[in-house]
Structure formats: C-alpha cells, structure tokens
C-alpha cells in the first residue's frame, strides 16, 4: 500500500470513534436544541414551527431577562472573589514554600474538598448560615447579636459565598500552573536590576500569570452562571438563576421551546466567552522558553 494512503487510513481510523461520538452526542443534541427553540408551546407539549417568539419573550419579559442578568452578576462576583482568594494562595505555594513536599501537600489540600459531595458541601453552608446554624449561634453567644439573624441565608450573599467556596479550587489550579511556569531567574533578574518585590510582582509576575488567571475566571464564570444546585439550597427567591429557569421550563412549566431557547442563549454566550478568553490567553501568552 502506498505510504500516503496508509497514513490517511491510519488517520481516519484513529479519528473515527471520537468523530462519531462527537457527532451523535454533541452535535446532534445541539442541533435539536436549536430546532426546538423555534417551536411553539402547545398543550400538552409543543408543535414544530419557525418563529422567534421564544427569544422575543426572553428579551422582552422582565422576569426572564432579570434572571439572566442576575446570573451573570452573581457569576461575576463569584469569579472575582474566588480570584482574590485563590491567587494569594497559589502565589504563596509557588514562591514562598520551599519544600516541594509541603507544596504538594498544600496543593492537594485544596483539591481534596472537591472529593466531598458538592451537594453536601453546599448543604452544609445552609446549616452553617441558617437561623439555628453555627454562625448565628456563635454571634449570639459572643453577644454580637441579640438574636439569630436571617441576613446570612437565602440571598445573593449566601449564593456568592457558597459558589465561591465551590470554585476556589478550580481557580487555584490554573493560576498555580501558570505561576509555576515562570522561570525563577526572571524575578532574580528583576531584583538584580533594582526593582523591589512589589513592583516585580506587578510588572513581571502578574502579567505572566494572566493566562492562568483568565482561564480560571472563565471557567468559574461559565460554570457558576449555569449552576442550579446552589440556588435551590441557599439561594431563596433572590437566587433564582438561569439554570433553575431552564429546569422549570423542562419540568413543571412544560415549555420546552422556551427552555431550548434559553439553553441556546446560554450556549452561545458561553462559546463566545470561551473564544474571547482563548484569544486573550493566546495574546498574553509569551514563550517562556
């Protein structure tokens, strides 16, 4: 067999399984979702059509677009607060911890909570923040509050807190990786040139760690905006997010076309964010040798 024919054979042989899978389980479902988003809701389910009514409804009806903005806002806050907590930790690990062993243990310590059920961890916050929860008991005991407060639960604060909690590990990982890649002699060179640690951080380390920061924040933002567990557990009415909206359209509200339209919007937004994030990462990525 000719060499080049053999190569083509090889190539498509290897590709076949992933291609088929991607087509059946990724491509087709999205096409279906796309199609449904143009249908009309009709009792008991829906009828085929081609109309933009669902999309119009989402844009026009405040109960829908408010949910979308709220989700984006909460997700943005989560991404930021996770960043502010994760970055110092990652920095500490990479630059201040001398022993490789301790570094690994601490890194693992951040990853380990991911293994405890997400549901349980979110639920535990509910118990901590609630009226009879630990936080309130402590505050009353310490005399700071006269009686338990329901300030802490079922609002945006508890949502952001819980989601930040969940996403800190996911933010630490890419930042850690990015910081690790920075050659140590760059900081040494900076110091040698008379630049102190603070300026070195701002001018050298931070820019070089940007790809990791962007990756972590993108990941956190996209996944936090689409979360439906935390809203149900600790969100209350104030925490009703887009994923809950979608779920109800496919559940009780029986409005599959609308749900599909919502899903399409989310799909497009996430895709856009990922592409932008990719571009930023690539632009900020400098060959570290």
């Amino acid at each position: 067999m000719k060499h080049s024919t053999r190569r083509t054979f090889e190539k498509y042989g290897v590709l076949s399984a992933p291609l088929v899978w991607t087509f059946i389980f990724l491509f087709v479902p999205y096409i279906l979702l796309f199609t449904y988003s143009f249908y009309i809701k009709q009792f008991p389910t829906f009828t085929p059509a081609f109309q933009f009514g669902n999309y119009a409804q989402i844009i026009a009806d405040s109960q829908y677009y408010q949910v979308i903005f709220r989700s984006a806002w909460i997700a943005g806050c989560v991404a930021l607060s996770a960043l502010f907590l994760a970055y110092p930790f990652a920095y500490f690990l990479v630059f201040k911890v001398r022993s490789a062993r301790v570094r690994m243990i601490l890194y693992m310590a951040v990853i380990v909570p991911l293994w405890v059920s997400y549901l349980l961890r979110a639920y535990t916050w509910k118990t901590i923040l609630g009226n009879e929860g630990i936080l309130n008991s402590f505050l009353v005991w310490a005399g700071i509050f006269a009686e338990p407060s329901d300030l802490f639960l079922y609002n945006k604060f508890s949502m952001i807190l819980t989601l930040t909690y969940i996403f800190i590990p996911f933010t630490v990982m890419p930042i850690y990786t990015a910081l690790e890649k920075i050659p140590r002699n760059l900081t040494e060179a900076s110091h040698d040139l008379g630049v102190g640690p603070l300026q070195t951080f701002w001018n050298v380390i931070l820019p070089l760690s940007m790809p990791g920061v962007i990756a972590g924040m993108t990941f956190t933002f996209c996944l936090a905006s689409g979360d439906f567990v935390a809203p149900m557990l600790v969100g209350g009415p104030d925490g009703f997010m887009i994923a809950n909206l979608m779920t109800s359209q496919f559940g009780a509200a029986m409005n599959w076309p609308l749900g599909s339209a919502l899903a399409m919007i989310m799909l497009v937004v996430v895709l856009t964010i990922i592409s932008l994030s990719d571009k930023f990462q690539r632009a900020g990525r400098v060959e570290l040798g």
């Binding site: 000719k2 060499h3 080049s4 053999r6």
Partner: protein, 368 residues
Amino acid sequence: MRPIIRIEGVTKTFGSKVVAIQDVSLSINEGEFVTLLGPSGCGKTTILRMVAGFEMPDRGRIILGDEDVTDVPPYRRPLNMVFQDFALFPHMTIAQNINYGLKVKGIPKPQAKKAVEDVLKMVELVSESERRPNELSGGQRQRAALARALVHKPKVLLLDEPLSSLDANLRAQLRVELKHLHEKLGLTFLMVTHDQTEALVMADRVVLMQDGRIAQDGTPEQIYDHPASIYVANFIGTTNLFHGRVVAINGGDITISSGDQELIARPSLAVSGIGDDVAVCVRPEKARIVSPGTDSTNLNTMTVTVEELLYHGSSVRVQFRLKSDDLFLVDVPLATASDRDRLPKTGEEITVGFAPGNTTIFPWEERR
C-alpha cells in the same frame, strides 16, 4: 564498489515556502563512511531522514541496494539509525532497549539473548545492561544507542549528529572509536554533522551542503586542499582570500592581478579565461613568515603589519593587516622554544609569503 544507497533527484519542501532539498543526487558505495556536513538548515538532516524513511521526498527516488524504497515505511528498511539524543526508551533497561527490535520481529529468545550479549560485549556495556538510560553517562548512552542499532547487523548505519550532545574530550575520543568501529565491522556509515573536525577525521567522503544543494562531494583532503567554492573554503577550516582578475595563463601557472599586486597561483579547471573574476585561496598554515635573507623568488610575497597574535596552544595564529586593509592570517607552529622567540611583535612590519602550489582558485562569488 557498488552503490548501496542511491539518492536520485530528490526535492523536498516544507510548508509552502521552505525548500529544504533542491534536486539532490548522491551515491553511496558499500563500506564507505560518508558524512553529510553543513550548517543548520542546509538540508543534511532531511536527507538522512529520507534515507531512514521518516520523511518522504516530494520528487525523486531513494534506492537501497537494488530496491526502490521511496514508498517503504522505516520499519521495513534494512538500515538502522543512531538518533541525535539517542532516543533510548526510558522505561526499559539497556538490555531491553537493545532487545526491543529483536522482540518485535519475533526472533526466538535464545538467539536474541546471544545477539544482545555479543553486541554488549562489543561496546563494552555488559555491566550496565540492567540499568536504565537515565542512570548512564552521555558516553555510555551513545554506546547503548549504537549497540541497539548494530544488533540488527544493518547494511547501513545512519548517524544523526551522534557526538553533538557530548563534551569536547569525549567527542575527541569517540570520533576515533567510531572510525575504528567502521573499519572493524565493514558496514556502510552515513553520518550527519555540523562539526567539520568530525567530518575530516572520520569520513572517507565528505558531502558539504549549502541551502539544500551539494556544494562539494569529495575526500577530506580534496575538500580541504581543493575547495570548489568560497563557501567550501570558508566552511572548512579558515582561509585567506584574494579577489582578483586573471591576467595571464602559461602552462603550469596562472597570474592573477589583485589590488596592486600580482599573484601566481595554481591553475584550476573551474577558471579558464583571461579576465575571469576569481578568488585566490590560501590556508593560514600554508603561508609563512619570510625572514630577511631567505630566498623568496618562488613565493608570492607581501609586506604586512602585525596586528594580533592569537595563541592556540600548539600554534600561533598571526593576524596581519594588508595595505588593502584586509586581514591575512598565518599559522606559525610552536614546536620548539626558539619558534616562540622568533615570533614577531605587534606593530612590526614583516614579509609573508606563500607558494603558488599551495593556492586554490575558483570563480569569485559576491556572497556573504
């Protein structure tokens, strides 16, 4: 001697712009030690990889023995390669590395075992056979890579810059060892290197490449003493060059006018007519300082000023400034104490000279 490898009219382009090899034809005879020499990017590694089967020519053929192997994958070609970074499998011991090729070919175990032992003895790595590659020194790894290739008794052994990752002393030692190995085994060796000393010491034939083409193909002596172009003259060793015009040809002599002097040089087939634009090349070790009172009628001489003395251990390279403002180099051997005493001082004006028979001329090229 019959050709064992024939590379015929091979062209290879990478991407849409980079032409790595331009219509190269080369013939390698059985038992020869041929070196492909040149700077990085000249195409020498590409040719080696095409012979091995890792690249395919866009045009042309590769023939091994009597068979056209252009389309044959590497695992079916009867040759073996020693890779530049040795490519020893890190997850196997040395013995397993050597045995690998025999295992995949299905050679029966007792036979394979004996072959591995024999080749380990030949490269003197018997005591390291159960170690892993990362536990060995650079020189030991090189021998292991050799052993792994040689256990198959290939007709041709390909070597991709086999000494480049070793330090200077080791390289000097292994150059000689490889040459002995070649003589002992009688195989054909095709080696790629950018180090001209390696090429000159080890090879029977040197193929010097330039930008995807062959600049010169000959024995080390031919390449060194009779370079075919300025590129070759400059790449191998160092050379002094004079730019001039042919003014007279009479029998065994050719007269060149360069600047304000006339030089007698040895004729060359490449230069035929009066008025031709030529380069006259003379190696530093072939030029001499002419002490006053010596008979210099048969030499080309010139008066120069000493600019710098560069100490090279066994010799001194004296750098002179010509009246034309070019540099002229003379290598003076330091065999005895009196040699050192007779060295000129910086700033002195001296006469240097060289015999016509020690020159080579070729057409002038305006390249840099």
